[in-house]
Symmetry: C2
């Protein structure tokens, strides 16, 4: 395949949509007047091509544009640039889907571990995986580590850093990772259940490389990265260069109102190698619909990445969420568990037991 | 100052806006229920604080949130994360402004050359600077270099890569930079006017470092980077580590509908060191208003970065654009010049002469 197909949702009058579609095709490829292009090969093979326009009703159209893969190569940053770069600056158009050949997709790497690897590592079969997050911002490493231990004694599979935890003065990365990894090990020794502590990477490529090195030194084999913040190229390279590490992707800076979460989180994060993708579930603090969440989770699984619904989940709704998402899922409950304070381990145990006991309909 | 002030534009009922404002303050700081936080110091010093709510009419409110700078530190990626990370995933809220102390801002570096440095390098006084871009995608290095030479013979100050040019098979970065830099030198030797060729960086930090090294080898001292695509942390580090290089910032992937361009391009790009910022001007292919462009350009100048309006400018409108933007500006005209094809040098000469001859009102 020499082209991928990008689909944009564009509000427009019916009479204007064809010209608008052509304008997007030009913007996302050669970005100049076609009349100024002399070469037939560029006009035929490089300029974006309108492959279809579908009236979705309500003055909105789905525009399918064929973009030459030759303009992209194998760099994930350039993929995003050609898919949505300048068009992201338009006030109305949204990028809602991308279709590409398996061969082209494979060039970006995909999940190295994915659903199967996560299951194999955790030893959990037939149930959803479980996760929580340590917060709030401002706690020192020993206090965060105490939370890790309480969570781990409750039987979680993963305890991740809040995505706001970086390398702050009150909680430097190196000290936090050492303390939290040790806390997870202590709990595992006590209970026999393996809980993985998942540090959040921040900064540029070199700092993230050092962070992964520090995490490795503490026996950590799973980390979290935010591709929309770090840059797709950076995430791609880190994942490629650490094939034994499992990567959770965090959606921060995803700007979903213009870049469909089903695509960004469900397809593009796995494309560049995320083994699991965190996203704000319906019914929480964010506005994602059930349909969006179902499609996003399905897209992730199709790419072998584990969907991780989060963002305002509560214990009371575990059953409903598991019925909705099924067992090929990791549930992430953060703040609602932390409300239990000194009863954190008990509340976490209730979480992990509910997940273990759930009967999928 | 222990807090910066982030301003969000939020559509809301009057009765619901206070709760919504508090929710944003929590989301962008501790991201957990306040009832679960035991520490008074965190509640007082780390949790985001609603500093003001202004009814802007039409069901929209401007919400000012004080965010603790301790949660950010000196990493530009973390700055964006705490300013807008999770809230970017909401369907409605937009980040429209940030106020911070000069001391805190200085930690991010700011433009190393800025307006004064760009003027000193080009030797141009009392007029706007001039720039164009080489395109289309798909041309080999020698053809792109021929465009550079034609542009340079027309007297431009800068000729930049199209932001879609990366390291494609048909135009590898190293070959392109060597050919284009040589073309600019040839023209300068012939005309005596110094034209700078500006390559576009792509990929991750290590690849960009290598690209800057290749550019240096060719005598290039000005490069272009897209911070929203590369990642703020990456751009920040590259700029910091190359203090003798001038950086143009490209807005691709800026997603302006949710992240105000006056802020992202006008303030945040200069904050992390962009010497000049390219943006889509009113009256071109993009929907930015005159008010947005005026504010954006003013913000950039206030930070000592040169505003570079672009995105569909034409020769016919140079006078109007110079009256609007004034001399502390670099005009970037791309596709419209390329329409001249074999008369490219003459058309470029008309551009540079119009800029040189303009009398500012």
């Amino acid at each position: 395949m020499t082209r991928l197909i990008a689909t944009y949702r564009v509000p427009s009058d019916a009479g204007a949509i064809e010209a608008r579609a052509r304008a997007i095709a030009v913007e996302q490829s050669v970005e100049m007047p076609l009349d100024a292009i002399e070469d037939a090969a560029i006009l035929n093979e490089i300029v974006g091509r309108v492959e279809g326009i579908e009236d979705q009703g309500g003055g909105r159209f789905a525009v399918r544009i064929g973009l030459a893969v030759a303009t992209i190569g194998a760099d994930a940053g350039q993929l995003l640039n050609m898919l949505f770069g300048n068009t992201s600056l338009q006030e109305d158009a949204a990028l809602i889907d991308v279709e590409m050949s398996a061969e082209f997709a494979a060039g970006f790497g995909g999940p190295r571990h994915g659903i199967g690897g996560l299951r194999a590592r955790t030893g959990a079969a037939g149930r959803a995986l479980t996760c929580s997050a340590i917060k709030p911002q401002g706690l020192p490493p020993d206090r965060l580590a105490a939370l890790v231990e309480q969570f781990a004694r409750g039987g979680l599979d993963f305890v991740k850093d809040d995505h706001g935890l970086a390398d702050q003065a009150y909680s430097p990365f190196a000290e936090r990772v050492a303390a939290c990894a040790a806390a997870a090990r202590r709990a595992t020794t006590a209970t026999g259940h393996l809980t993985r502590y998942v540090p959040s990477l921040s900064g540029d490529l070199e700092r993230m490389r050092r962070q992964i090195g520090l995490a490795r030194d503490e026996g950590v084999d799973t980390v979290m990265i935010a591709p929309a913040l770090a840059g797709f190229a950076t995430a791609q390279v880190l994942i490629r260069d650490n094939p034994d590490v499992t990567f959770l992707a965090h959606p921060t800076m995803g700007g979903a109102a213009r870049l469909a979460p089903e695509l960004l989180i469900g397809k593009l994060f796995p494309l560049i190698g995320a083994d699991a993708v965190i996203f704000p579930t319906y019914g929480g603090r964010f506005g994602y619909s059930r349909a969006t969440c179902r499609t996003l989770a399905g897209n992730a699984r199709a790419a072998s990445a584990l969907p991780v619904p989060a963002g305002g989940m509560t214990l009371e709704r575990i059953g409903e969420k598991l019925d909705f998402y099924g067992p090929e899922t990791m549930l992430l409950i953060g703040g609602s568990l932390l409300m239990a304070r000194e009863r954190l381990t008990e509340e976490t145990t209730a979480f992990t037991r509910a997940v273990a006991a759930h009967r999928y309909g």
